[in-house]
């Protein structure tokens, strides 16, 4: 346990000044040393899935930056495309061996017979919590200030169970399944995350006035877990009110825990108000594995024009890889990467099209590498 506490303490000490003063975090202050166990620095294998669309472009960016930093990770590449029937067995074996994966987006064809590979991956590896961190980046003007929201979304059940059938021609039913087991473990994760990351408030998002039993069960589990963390404030909000508050007063939210579908909407809305899906990091985590990807991808993997001109935004995946480095317990590499990316954004010279600039992916990557210290 000592091995795990030290980096977390380090993280807490390192992050709190930058949480209060965003510009102060850009100046690298040396924090209390993370004392590794001998052998911690040996290169760690990470499965890399480039994916579809802009996926290969942005994962290439991450590989370049990792090499420039001499980070102790090496990537095992596997090609998976959205129109495959299921994720190949060798990819699953690799992820199970390495325990950590970095992934670009996988296209899910609309209305087709293929079930989403993203969802399949999450269910098979039992990645039950999906985390998206939406925050204002200094240097990126948005309509809302002071946004720093983490959306933790239950990833395996709810409306995405995929259990649909046609009762009679013209009438289709879809089952939304909520279980106490899954709701409890995602609530547990949300509160533990808040505790370890010094967050003050957890908000549960639901629609229990209409779906009394289903969301009622979710809320019950959240309330039970909340009673075990008295130092963290807990409140509940109905999902339509939540969306309204997000667009008018997003600073009132801190950590939000939601079932599957609402989490998708809330995460994408929060990402939109804080700067767009091109910059928000995120990941999926389970008891044994973790898959890091762009936080809120809004269901698309970029269009062909972005691909041709190579103007995809690598910032989201770079910040997600910083999250991955912290997960692998390489905090100073993560700090360096994050500082470099934030510096590039705050300078504002190399920004891709979705942030209002005109640079290509490669230019942004070169700027990040140049800013690494």
């Amino acid at each position: 346990m000592a091995r795990r506490t030290l980096p977390i303490l380090n993280q807490l000490c390192a992050r709190s000044p930058s949480h209060l003063h965003p510009l102060l975090g850009l100046i690298s202050t040396r924090s209390v040393t993370y004392m590794p166990r001998p052998g911690d620095g040996s290169p760690r294998p990470v499965t890399l899935i480039p994916g579809d669309g802009i996926g290969p472009l942005v994962t290439g960016a991450v590989e370049q930056v990792m090499e420039a930093m001499h980070a102790p990770v090496y990537f095992e590449r596997y090609d998976v495309h959205g129109d495959m029937n299921k994720v190949p067995q060798e990819v699953m074996d690799s992820i199970r061996k390495n325990k950590v994966c970095l992934k670009g987006g996988l296209i899910t064809p609309v209305g087709g017979g293929v079930s989403s590979l993203n969802v399949q991956l999450r269910k098979e590896l039992d990645l039950y919590a999906s985390l998206v961190n939406c925050f204002n980046l200094p240097g990126l003007p948005t309509r809302h200030e002071n946004v720093d929201i983490v959306v933790i979304r239950e990833n395996t059940e709810g409306e995405y169970s995929g259990l649909e059938h046609e009762v009679v021609p013209g009438v289709v039913e879809s089952l939304k399944v909520i279980t106490k087991f899954c709701s409890e473990r995602v609530a547990q994760y949300a509160f533990e995350y808040s505790y370890l990351n010094n967050r003050k408030k957890v908000t549960a998002v639901h629609k229990a006035n209409i779906m009394k039993l289903a969301d009622g069960l979710f809320l019950e589990s959240c309330r039970e877990v909340a009673s075990k963390y008295p130092s963290i404030k807990y409140n509940e909000i109905i999902v339509d009110n939540c969306c309204m508050q997000l667009v008018s007063k997003p600073e009132q939210f801190d950590v939000m825990v939601t079932p599957n579908l609402y989490g998708n909407l809330v995460a994408n809305t929060a990402a939109g108000i804080a700067g767009g899906t091109g910059v928000m990091p995120g990941g999926n985590v389970g008891a044994d594995h973790a898959v890091f990807e762009q936080g809120a991808s809004a269901g698309n993997v970029g269009n062909e024009k972005l691909l041709e001109q190579k103007k995809a935004n690598p910032v989201a995946l770079l910040l997600s890889s910083a999250m991955m480095l912290r997960h692998l317990q390489f905090p100073s590499f993560a700090d360096r990467l994050e500082t470099a990316v934030k510096r590039v954004i705050s300078e504002g010279k190399y920004m891709t099209k979705d942030l209002g600039g005109d640079s290509t992916t490669q230019e942004v990557v070169d700027a990040v590498i140049a800013n690494l210290d």
């Binding site: 899910t108 309509r143 289709v172 879809s174 106490k180 209409i210 997000l246 809305t269 990402a271």
Partner: protein, 312 residues
């Protein structure tokens, strides 16, 4: 804060009438009345003042309409104190008949009293009058500055089925299932209304919002119905947008959307999101369309019992 809400509501009703020659938030009302007012007699409309702040704002509406000389005659109906056995709720049979006869109504906020053995009032109205589409125009009001100034869209939401069927059950302890039902009939109905609305109000795009990449059969059926109706209106552009993409686009650039048509749950969330974009529920008009050409306009906010009686 109470005075702010009251001021906002008065402003919304006021702007709806006085600004009607220019762009206004109550364009829907405007057109409804101009077509009907061409007849020489008065329009009869049913008015449900509702609870809490309801009677006060209903009075404001009546005052404004009478000073603007709108040719309308209100038939007021109050929610009864006992359960009417014919409707199994506090709404009397006469009220419902009056709406069916007049075809036009205005409803204030109604609080459902907590008790046993009766249905919620809004639910009763919806089921009895078969109100299948909820139309919410969202316009940025000039003069009320929010972070979004160029909002100009209509959300049309299917009101009867989808995730809100209320069919839930506990399978075993700790496992609950909730049914989401999509039928061809209801989807066709609301898609027809959406395209008809777009055509009559000069809108050029209709976007169907869905999550058919995950819920392939249910939202797939909804999309199929929308596509069928879209073929009958070739002059209106039709597109399909996945809901998470839609949320993101709405908060970044609401000018991208025109008319949105969607099933029940997404409609609930998106229409409230759009209300948030223009300044809140106190400023948003809303109208429920029913079978047999019934239109029941309503206030979407609650009855706010804590500020009732505090404005003059």
């Amino acid at each position: 804060m109470a005075s702010q809400i009251a001021r906002r509501m008065l402003r919304s009703y006021a702007k709806g009438i006085f600004c009607s020659p220019k762009n206004s938030g109550a364009r829907v009302f405007d057109r409804n009345f101009t077509t009907a007012a061409s007849e020489s007699n008065l329009i009869r409309a049913t008015l449900f003042p509702g609870d809490g702040i309801g009677p006060e704002i209903a009075n404001s509406v009546k005052q404004i309409f009478s000073s603007a000389d709108v040719p309308i005659e209100w038939e007021e109906h109050y929610v009864g104190q006992e359960i009417d056995p014919r409707t199994q709720s506090f709404l009397t049979w006469e009220s419902l008949e009056s709406v069916r006869k007049n075809k036009v109504g205005l409803k204030g906020p109604m609080a459902t009293p907590i008790g046993k053995g009766h249905r919620s009032l809004n639910l009763t109205l919806r089921k009895e009058l078969n109100l299948y589409a909820n139309v919410r125009p969202c316009y940025s009001l000039p003069g009320y500055k929010t972070r979004y100034d160029d909002v100009n869209l209509i959300t049309i939401r299917e009101n009867t089925e989808g995730e809100y069927s209320g069919l839930e059950h506990q399978v075993v302890r700790g496992v609950v299932e909730s049914l989401k039902i999509i039928t061809r009939q209801a989807s066709l109905r609301v898609a027809e209304y959406a395209f008809h609305y777009a055509k009559t109000h000069g809108r050029d795009r209709v976007s169907a919002i869905h999550k058919a990449n995950i819920m392939q059969k249910t939202d797939g059926l909804f999309l199929k119905c929308c596509r069928e109706v879209a073929e009958k209106y070739p002059e209106i552009k039709y597109e399909e947008v996945v809901i998470d993409n839609c949320c993101m686009m709405l908060v970044k650039n609401p000018a991208l959307f025109d008319v949105l048509v969607m099933p029940n749950l997404y409609g609930d969330i998106i229409s409230d999101l759009c209300a948030g974009l223009i300044g809140g529920l106190g400023l948003t008009p809303s109208c429920n369309i029913g079978e047999g050409d019934i239109a029941l306009a309503e206030a979407v906010h609650g009855s706010a019992p804590d500020i009732a009686g505090k404005i003059q």
